[in-house]
């Protein structure tokens, strides 16, 4: 009888611990919204800065994901990102002169006009994505150690696929 009682207590405690740990370690979804953009990210990332921009650090690998908005003059509303990208990238490369460009792609099938540039320095890689909607540029960079870059990239892609850029004047 006493033995059964102890067995029952152990089973109940195990169940509570299992659910408790699952709950504690579950991956939750968070979101960031400001006047310029919205993204969703999961709890494997922690927020470094979320004032007028979103800077995240991956908890396990210390990789960085930084999303910022640059608002241009309204005259740039209908100018293609193609026409601006060289200047934008030139400005970014001047701020990161040790990083070498190893790959580049325009992404015509994405929701927004966008370009991706991949840089490498020693055993680190940095991906720069530039998105344009109307007169707003969303400038994203993701930096990680090369060994875990591709592993964390999946999570980065999931975050960037939730990107929604807000432009225009509200009607109602």
């Amino acid at each position: 009888m006493k033995k059964n009682k102890w067995l029952l207590i152990i089973i109940v405690v195990s169940i509570i611990l299992t659910f408790g740990l699952s709950y504690a370690f579950r991956v939750t979804l968070n979101s960031y919204t400001d006047n310029n953009f919205k993204v969703e990210y999961d709890s494997t990332w922690k927020v470094v800065n979320d004032t007028n921009e979103l800077k995240l650090k991956h908890k396990k690998t210390n990789s960085i994901l930084h999303i910022q908005c640059k608002e241009l003059d309204k005259t740039y509303m209908d100018i293609s990102l193609n026409d601006l990208i060289v200047d934008v990238i030139d400005s970014i490369e001047k701020q990161n002169i040790d990083y070498k460009l190893i790959n580049r792609m325009s992404n015509p099938t994405d929701m927004y006009e966008s370009f991706s540039y991949l840089y490498e320095k020693d055993m680190k890689q940095a991906l720069v994505n530039i998105y344009k909607k109307d007169n707003k540029l969303i400038v994203v960079y993701y930096e990680a150690d090369s060994e875990c870059y591709d592993i964390v990239l999946d999570s980065v892609d999931s975050i960037l696929r939730t990107l929604k850029i807000y432009t225009g004047e509200k009607v109602n």
Partner: protein, 531 residues
């Protein structure tokens, strides 16, 4: 011990000073390189543009009225309430009761259409306003990300406003959906594919009230035949295929004109830029003869003294509703003539009711006499309203070049610009950090070691996850994710379950492993982790 401490201290100093990647958004500039490029131009030929202004001047009073009208159009109020609200902004003529009555009817029809379409929209992307006549304005409101009967679409609300006693009111409103424009472009492409060169117009509105929207086939044929040798298409390509495409025209034999914006686009994205005419002849671009950024024009020399220079007419002689013609190709499959209507000329900029696609940018606009009066610019494409810059400013340069021998026309080499714009990549570091004993196990999964024959760029094994990056050296037209069919077939045969798929990623699982196959840039990435 001291050496160890010194080594540690030195390492600390080095690593703490290694600068991580960072972007200061305030240091991002968007026009410095273009200005630099124009400074490198051979200054032998100048393009003077006195009085030309590319900026729009907004009429705040009209914009305010238009925003109110849009708000009413898209509100969730009942039709009765909407009509009542709209009457505050209707045009009333003190002299012409018929005009007032017809305006009333147009508004009723417009609101009925809006109601049927069940439109939901929150944001106005842009408002463009063009004045024509003394008392008329046409205003185009661009609304992106609208829902039309729950489907996401771009919509365009257009308002013809008339003024009476100092107050503007809505006379004729109409709505266009992006589907309508796509259908038109699709029809144009089909005609091109069939070799039909007489096209039509998207334009349905006559602003002059003369009702003459259509043009005779004879006139279209005449303008086409007289000018087909004067127009070109310009294509930019890299190893992956065509990536930029636009239009241009001959200023004289061997010299073509297009927009500076299109040229920059091609410099950025394309390794090869070439020109072709309607007969299928292909030419290389030798270099830049002249350019003017604010006027958005570049004049290029091609590698053969061929083609036929256009006759430049005067854009100042155009009148409201005059027909404008364009000869070009949407698919580079055959040239076609299409047309639109002139609205107004302001500071050297033509505003037209002429639906253009991106590939029409740089193309010549001809008047009914077959003279060029403007070249299309990309300020507004995929829209009923479009813009062109007057070619009046090119007359002087045309006269100079016509009096010169082709071989004597100087230019700045194209390569001079390409080295500043088209960037070659550095070589990526290649490594394989997976220990042999680990790889010997993982390479058997789906016979991975033998099935994927793409060059392996990076391989690592971190925290029980194998990460493999392969280079897709086949073609940019083939997405990496389609190069693994034998591997994925093996996975299925080995009992893996196909659990997820989208354009970029596929996931397979069994009791032991989870395998993610994805494409990123032009890489194939395979991640294998314990399940």
């Amino acid at each position: 011990m001291k050496k160890i401490l010194f080594g540690l201290l030195l390492s600390f100093i080095i690593f703490s000073n290694v600068k991580a990647f960072n972007i200061d958004i305030n240091k991002i500039s968007v026009d410095s390189q273009a200005k630099q490029l124009s400074e490198n131009l051979n200054k032998t030929y100048n393009i003077e543009t006195p009085g030309f202004k590319s900026e729009e001047v907004n009429n705040e009073e009209v914009n305010k009225l238009v925003k109110e009208v849009v708000k009413i159009s898209l509100s969730s109020d009942s039709m009765t309430d909407k009509r009542q609200e709209f009457t505050k902004y209707m045009y009333y003529s003190n002299d012409d009761g018929a005009e007032t009555l017809s305006g009333n009817l147009f508004i009723k029809m417009y609101l009925d259409v809006i109601n049927e379409m069940k439109i939901e929209a929150d944001y106005i992307k842009d408002i463009r306003t063009v004045k024509f006549n003394e008392n008329d304005i046409i205003s185009f409101v661009y609304i992106s990300d609208a829902l039309v009967d729950k489907e996401e679409k771009d919509i365009f609300l257009s308002f013809w406003l008339k003024e009476d006693n100092g107050k503007y009111g809505v006379y004729y409103p109409w709505i266009t959906v992006d589907d309508d424009l796509e259908s038109y472009f699709s029809e144009v492409s089909k005609r091109e594919d069939k070799g039909e060169y007489i096209g039509g117009t998207y334009n349905k509105v006559s602003l002059s009230g003369k009702g003459n929207v259509t043009v005779s086939t004879n006139l279209l044929n005449s303008i086409y035949q007289n000018n087909i040798d004067s127009v070109v298409q310009i294509t930019g390509m890299n190893d992956g295929g065509q990536n930029s495409y636009g239009s241009g025209f001959y200023l004289r034999e061997g010299i073509i004109v297009t927009t500076w914006s299109l040229f920059l686009q091609m410099l950025t994205n394309s390794e090869y830029i070439y020109v072709n005419d309607a007969k299928g002849n292909t030419y290389d671009i030798l270099g830049v003869v002249a350019a003017q950024i604010d006027y958005d024009v570049v004049v290029l020399k091609i590698d053969k003294n061929s083609g036929k220079g256009v006759s430049i007419g005067s854009s100042t002689k155009l009148e409201l509703d005059d027909k404008l013609f364009m000869i070009n190709s949407k698919n580079n499959n055959g040239f076609q003539i299409s047309y639109g209507s002139f609205i107004s000329l302001n500071n050297g900029k033509l505003s037209n009711l002429f639906l253009l696609s991106n590939s029409d940018v740089g193309g010549a606009l001809f008047n009914e006499e077959g003279q060029v009066v403007g070249f299309n610019v990309g300020d507004k494409t995929n829209s009923e309203l479009s813009y062109a810059n007057s070619t009046d400013y090119l007359k002087e340069l045309q006269d100079i070049l016509n009096n010169q021998d082709y071989s004597k026309i100087s230019y700045t080499l194209l390569e001079t610009y390409k080295q500043d714009y088209y960037t070659e990549f550095e070589e990526e570091k290649k490594y394989n950090k997976i220990a042999n004993e680990v790889w010997n196990d993982y390479r058997k999964i789906g016979n991975l070691g033998n099935e994927i024959t793409l060059p392996l760029i990076k391989a690592s094994y971190v925290d029980g996850i194998v990460s493999l990056r392969y280079e897709n050296n086949t073609s940019n037209l083939i997405d990496s994710i389609y190069l693994v069919s034998s591997f994925t077939e093996n996975l299925i045969n080995d009992g893996y379950e196909f659990t997820y798929s989208d354009n970029y990623k596929k996931i397979y699982k069994n009791n032991k492993y989870k395998i993610i196959i994805k494409s990123s840039l032009d890489y194939l990435i395979i991640l294998i982790m314990e399940n």
